[in-house]
């Protein structure tokens, strides 16, 4: 198990992800993220000179869609799944934002 790294600011990552963490969780995730980063650093030791970077496993023939309209979902069904919605206006509702 790798040591906890001082350069990981879990509370900042949590704030960006809109997560509220308890002090226990913060400690836990800090440790876990340190392990993940240590693993990534180990992988980074590999010489990849001349190997193009890839983030995708399945790169092959392109997968396209033709520009043809397909029916959308029924609005009443969609809005029914939302925590809050105005069925008459046909709109989703969320707590006021500006």
């Amino acid at each position: 198990m790798a040591a906890t790294r001082p350069d990981i600011d879990v509370s900042r990552v949590a704030a960006l992800a809109r997560l509220e963490l308890t002090p226990e969780e913060t400690a836990l995730f800090t440790r876990q993220l340190s392990e993940i980063l240590a693993y990534a650093e180990a992988v980074q030791q590999i010489d990849t000179t001349g190997v193009p970077p890839t983030a995708h496993a399945g790169a092959g023939e392109p997968i396209w869609r033709d520009d043809v309209v397909v029916p959308s979902l029924d609005r009443a069904v969609v809005l029914k799944e939302a925590p809050e919605a105005s069925l008459s206006a046909g709109l989703f509702k969320v707590p006021k934002v500006l």
Partner: protein, 488 residues
Amino acid sequence: MRYEPVIGLEIHAQLLTATKIFCGCATTFGAPPNTNVCPVCLGLPGALPVLNRRAVELAIRAGLALGCRIQARSIFARKNYFYPDLPKGYQISQYDQPLAVEGRLELGPDARTRYVGITRIHMEEDAGKSLHHGLPDSDRYTAVDFNRAGVPLIEIVTEPDLRSAADAAECFSRVREILVALGVNDGNMEEGSLRCDANVSVRRVGEATFGTKTEVKNVNSFRFLQKALEYEIERQIDVLESGGRVVQETRLWDSDLGETTSMRTKEEAHDYRYFPEPDLQPLDVPQAWVEAIRSTLPELPEERKQRLMAAHGLSDYDADLLVRLITGGADYFERVVAAGAQAKAASNWIQGEIRRRLKELGRDDMSAVPVTPEALAELIDLAERGVVSSTVAKDVFDRMWTTGRRAKAIVDEEGLAQTGDTSAIAALVESVLAENADAVEQYRKGKTNVIGFLVGQVMKKGKGRIDPKVANQLLRDALGGAASSPGA
């Protein structure tokens, strides 16, 4: 102390596809809220995006027309942020590997030609629409319509090459013109299918480094862009002159107040944590496809204007008007010329009678003109050959417009051709001289310019069907060569 502004633009243009970028929902503007939605554009769990081939094709078209290099491989990325109109919690965009790079756009030519670098053009999806007002519970809720979520956009980013608010407005206008001519975008700024943000800073003239910039948003007309930038440039200069520092921030243009105001931005709001979109493959564009698209590019407005000037000897003003101010004007003009009319005459008719008629209709497009280019060419021919006088030609044109009949038919059936019959004209000359003894007297006393008045009288009697040159000659003959100027 003199300052100069440094401006770069970010232009968002909706691609003219039938469906969204990653799903088959329609892009129709004005559909009832949340009727063009599906699991993909609502970000429902498990839904996977599939790229719209037509959207890529249109983006490549725009890239080529703006002089860009199309990258053989570009990468979609996730831009992470939270806002209710972004259902997935990220926007699929392109980040470090955009579709098109290193383009160039020409401004002018007027006093001098300027070039604006195009840094990049990338593809992305639009967000939904938040409605903060207008519902009974708008004080507590924000309502969201996802019809626009997933609509395909390109973002065109220019280099900070612009040095005035007017140039920025011209740049935006040129980009719009090109996108519309390409069929890539509808140019509709009211409906939000074309939007512009501007980055602006000021620096002392001669300084090499840039000052701190602000981003001005919500400038969706050429006029507002110019006014917003003029305001912002002045504001920044005032801040510097009073010893302050410009704060890097986003400012919103308020067209009612005529000023920009600071938008409060949350700390860390710009940490988007981009990473490659694992649900989409790299976008590989074969060179053959790029070349196939390049071969379908139309002549762009500025090219066409230059060609009209070179091929037909039109002035910059005339060519500009035909290409830019009257929609379809250049097409119409070229058909009139192809039908045999002289270029200058064709241009004059379009800018004169046709434009006057269009103005009366409140239109600025040639599709509202009921007279075909070939029919106009026929009328021009009759006027050029002197079959009808210019006055009668305008009258004939009015009838062509209202009745749809051809010029020759109108002239023949209504006997509007100028008469060359000298004896008939001579009779008119005689009666005019008899009725205008005063003028005749003045002429004999040397006031020879009354001849114009007398010609007019003859023309009037002849209802415009008389060749004024013949009338003039016959009048002079009748008055005798006796006219002498007292001073001579």
